[in-house]
């Protein structure tokens, strides 16, 4: 370690002498002084003017060994030094590119979410495995008459909503490809108008992708005046491809469940479109 230190001293004195040589009026000692404290980058130091002679201190060896100024070339030969400078410059460029690529990847991962949503909107897939259903499909679909499915109905309300909400039929027997109508009934027994909004659920989950509602009363605010009772229809059909899905062979019962929540004035609930 001591040997290394002595080498540094020699280099320091040599460099200091060389750089101060071309016409600089500063004294050798003054210019060499910053190099005696290897903790700082000598030539670029802004405090040079504030240095005074006589403030030489013997720099302590230990930690400074690790703090070699980064820009100091390792060799003193001008040709290899130029090459080293070149390598260093190239390394810097490569490092900049790599850092930019990393930042770009991070940005892309954040941008992926809205971009994917945009893609789903344009292609209409909406994240579901089955592509969007057109109304032409309803026109042309043929009922699969040998596959009878029982659809049961369930109705729930959230605890804070005081409506009486129930289905008007407990079950209905449909076949895939046939449109069907079902009714729910809701009554507002309170003395104030109440706005509710509902969502639905279909079990089994895998059958849910074949359950298509043409029109219903969900996801929009429904306002009931005091003591008012209304019929709420659901017009739906089961996709005929249900009969061809091997996973649905044992499915004979589908349960449609609606849940009503109370909606506050002006509250915007998220309509599923992206999920």
């Amino acid at each position: 370690m001591g040997g290394l230190w002595r080498g540094a001293w020699r280099r320091v004195a040599f460099c200091g002498w060389r750089w101060s040589h071309p016409g600089s009026p500063t004294k050798v000692a003054e210019s060499a002084e910053p190099f005696l404290r290897p903790g700082r980058s000598g030539t670029g130091s802004a405090n040079r003017g504030l240095r005074r002679l006589g403030t030489w201190r013997r720099p302590n060896p230990g930690p400074d060994l690790a703090l070699q100024p980064p820009r100091r070339p390792k060799s003193t030969n001008p040709f290899t030094r130029a090459q080293e400078e070149d390598w260093r410059r190239r390394n810097k460029t490569v490092l900049t590119y790599v850092a930019a690529a990393a930042v770009g990847m991070l940005g892309a991962s954040y941008a992926a979410v809205p971009l994917y949503r945009l893609y789903c909107q344009t292609t209409g897939l909406g994240g579901s495995a089955v592509a969007g259903h057109a109304s032409d499909q309803i026109e042309n679909m043929v009922p699969v008459k040998d596959r009878i499915i029982k659809v049961t109905f369930n109705a729930d309300v959230h605890a804070s909503l005081q409506w009486n909400f129930r289905p008007q039929q407990t079950e209905i027997y449909v076949v895939p490809g046939e449109t069907a109508l079902a009714f729910y009934k809701a009554k507002n027994p309170t003395d104030k108008p109440v706005i509710g909004i509902s969502t639905y659920n279909v079990v089994p989950f895998e059958a849910g992708q074949y359950f298509n509602k043409i029109q219903c009363f969900c996801f929009e605010e429904q306002r009931l005046n005091p003591q008012e009772e209304v019929d709420m229809p659901v017009f739906f059909y089961i996709d005929p491809e249900f009969a061809e899905d091997p996973r649905m062979v044992n499915v004979d019962l589908i349960t449609l469940s609606y849940t009503f929540f109370e909606a506050k004035e002006g509250q915007q609930l998220p309509v599923p479109g992206y999920n």
Binding site: G126, G127, S128, H133, S135, D136, I138, E139, M141, P143, K145, Q168, Q169, T170, E171, I172, Y173, V174, V175, E178, T179, A180, L181, F183, T199, Y200, N201, V202, V203, F205, E206, G208, Q209, N212, K213, I214, Q215, C216, F217, C218, F219, E220, Q222, R223, L224, N225, E228, V230, D231, M232, P233, F235, Y237, V271, P272, G273, N275
Partner: protein, 89 residues
């Protein structure tokens, strides 16, 4: 929107209805059609195929009274009922 917290199983994805939401029938204008439909269902042991005429009548009532967007009946799956001869499916 299922609340099952297990990531392995598929969860249910609710989809918005194709043609949107039915406006509420506040004045009960189509209630008689609905009652006829419900009676038909109860009589036929809740078989939908036998009561399609009544459901068609109910939807026509709604369309007449601006409670539903006007749609040609074929697009609602009633193509076989338009000629007036109901097929027993």
């Amino acid at each position: 929107m299922s609340t099952a917290m297990n990531f392995g199983s598929k969860s249910f994805q609710p989809r918005p209805p194709d043609k949107g939401s039915f406006p509420l029938d506040h004045f009960g204008e189509c209630r008689s059609f609905k009652e006829k439909f419900m009676k038909c269902l109860r009589d036929n042991k809740f078989e939908n195929a036998l009561c399609r005429k009544e459901s068609k009548a109910y939807l026509e009532c709604r369309m007449e009274r601006q409670l539903m967007a006007q749609e040609p009946l074929e697009k609602l799956g009633f193509g076989d009922l338009i000629d007036g001869k109901p097929e027993k499916n």
